[in-house]
């Protein structure tokens, strides 16, 4: 063993040098278990490749690419600024009007979050009822799908008539857009429980509530979260739609106003802020999901790293 140890010492560092390159090949004979471990574990990443592999880097690089293409095509095809503004102009607006834009994005954020929270608070119990009772399902579900086919944008003016120009119609609009994906995903999650698993818990004299809390609800969590992630981005759309129809504040209002004056840089700046808002809220829900369902298949890699 001692004889084997000594020649292995340099090969270890040689192996590290090799893995810095694109292909890592281990030619040196090592004991089998160590080799299997090498196959199972990812090669040790260098600092540079680690930075390049961070989740946000690639979309960021792609974004830079898009902006460059955008800028170049404006210059090449001589697109006038009142049709598409140059990226630099948009950035300039973002820079100069930042206090105003930040102030205007607050009502939008507020309406989005409330709409989203309401769609989760109502969507999950409604899904529980639909999944739990065939009767409820037969009455409610078709109507829900039917209501979803009505374009929200078309009925948004109605909310202004009913609830005025305040924040409430925006919240309702965000809620209506966010509600449906939560219900559909959660129903699917609740229904996909193995009936044998429920039988097993029931045979142990678990009450309906206990069985639900121990089996059905955790089982449905991954599906619920995929619904929530769709819902949160749609809630942003809903809030903006609400603002389009009638308001004197919010990002939707900024967009309406800038379109009216052909102030396209401001309009694009507002779009950037909306996109950022959606991304940030999505990211927050994604983080919460990791905390709540760390056991799910999609999260497993993380557990191995942690373990």
């Amino acid at each position: 063993m001692a004889g084997l140890e000594a020649p292995n010492q340099p090969t270890k560092s040689a192996g590290q040098y090799l893995s810095i390159g694109l292909i890592s090949i281990k030619i040196e004979p090592q004991d089998r278990r160590a080799r299997e471990r090498n196959l199972a574990e990812p090669k040790t990443p260098t600092r540079l490749s680690k930075a390049f592999n961070a989740a946000w880097v690639r979309p960021f690089l792609f974004l830079i690419f898009i902006v460059v293409v955008w800028d170049l095509s404006i210059r090449l095809f001589r697109i006038p600024a009142y049709q598409i503004p140059a990226p630099a102009d948009v950035v300039a607006v973002l820079w100069h009007d930042w206090p105003e834009l930040a102030r205007q994005s607050w009502p939008t954020t507020y309406a989005t979050i409330w709409g989203f929270v309401l769609s989760a608070l109502f969507g999950i119990p409604v899904a529980m009822l639909i999944a739990g009772s065939k009767t409820v399902e037969s009455y409610v579900y078709p109507l829900l799908v039917f209501s979803q086919s009505v374009p929200k944008i078309a009925i948004a003016p109605l909310f202004v008539v009913w609830f005025g120009f305040g924040i409430l119609p925006k919240i309702i609009s965000a809620f209506l857009l966010g509600f449906f994906p939560v219900v559909v995903s959660a129903v699917q999650g609740f229904k996909s429980v193995d009936p044998d698993m429920v039988d097993l818990a029931r045979a142990m004299q678990g009450s309906r509530f206990h069985v639900f809390r121990a089996v059905n609800l955790p089982h449905a969590m991954p599906a619920i979260f995929s619904g929530l992630k769709v819902s949160v981005t749609l809630a942003v759309v809903g809030a903006v739609v609400g603002e389009f129809v009638g308001s004197n504040s919010g990002i939707g209002y900024v967009m309406q106003r800038s379109i009216g004056t052909f102030d396209l840089p401001t309009m694009f700046a507002a779009l950037v802020i909306l996109a950022l808002l959606g991304v940030i809220l999505f990211w927050i829900v994604d983080r919460i999901e990791r905390l709540v369902v760390p056991w799910h298949v999609s999260q497993r890699e993380e557990i191995i790293v942690a373990a």
């Binding site: 193995d194 044998d196 698993m197 039988d199 097993l200 818990a201 029931r202 045979a203 142990m204 004299q205 678990g206 206990h210 069985v211 121990a214 089996v215 955790p218 089982h219 369902v293 056991w295 799910h296 298949v297 497993r300 557990i303």
Partner: protein, 281 residues
Amino acid sequence: MTALNKTGASPPPAHLRVVGDRGASQKAGIRLSAVSKTYRSRDGDVPSLQPLDFHINAGEFFVVVGPSGCGKSTLLKMISGLLPPSTGEIFVEGEKVDKPHGNVGIVFQNALLLPWRNILNNVMLPIDMKRLPREEFLPRAKALLKLVGLEGFERKLPWQLSGGMQQRASICRALVHDPKIVLMDEPFGALDAMTRERMNVELMRIQRETGKTVLLITHSIPEAVFLADRVLVMTERPGAIAAIYDVPLPRPRSLDVMTDPVFSELVQRIRKHFFTQSALD
């Protein structure tokens, strides 16, 4: 064996004779009297089980074999109280079954471990469902995991274990609340043949050590004969009792009993039930 050779004359030897209901007067164990099940569907009533009468003694290893769809799983659900029989009565330990009584442990073909609970907490599921004091049963759960060779895996999540290990954990879950009877629905059907044989040997050891009454359902005739004190043969749908056989093989059994002439004769005898009924001939 010597006793068998003496009786092996012109009348069928003892182990090939269909045995009746021994000890039906006993209170312990499981007793079914005229239990039948008919499912109501849109196309009318579908009989699943024809009236069954039999008794499983306390501490007995009782195996039911039958073709698929003969109502074996229905039988299991009725005994555990999840499904009311259409006619007749079921008694577990002398108590009439009319709702889930919790005096059973159940093992299904799939381990059915909850992926968000670690192995120990999965084993503790019946305790949580019955709202029994956790700290009282934790040592028992750990002892059971040790019994099936899963010591040190308490904190692992189910997917980190192999199929055989998961099924062992589910056996622990079936035993943790100390039920009198254990119901097993093709418990090793999803495992590979080698693991399956090993698990069968282990299951017999666990049954001997815990003294539980076991009702096991299987498709495999050799498995049935290998495990059972008695084998109940069921007919095709609607299920009915074709025969009940004694398995006079001595315990503890090892895989070597499969070469025993008594073993192969019984396997052949039981197999005949299915070949004479089915469309194969």
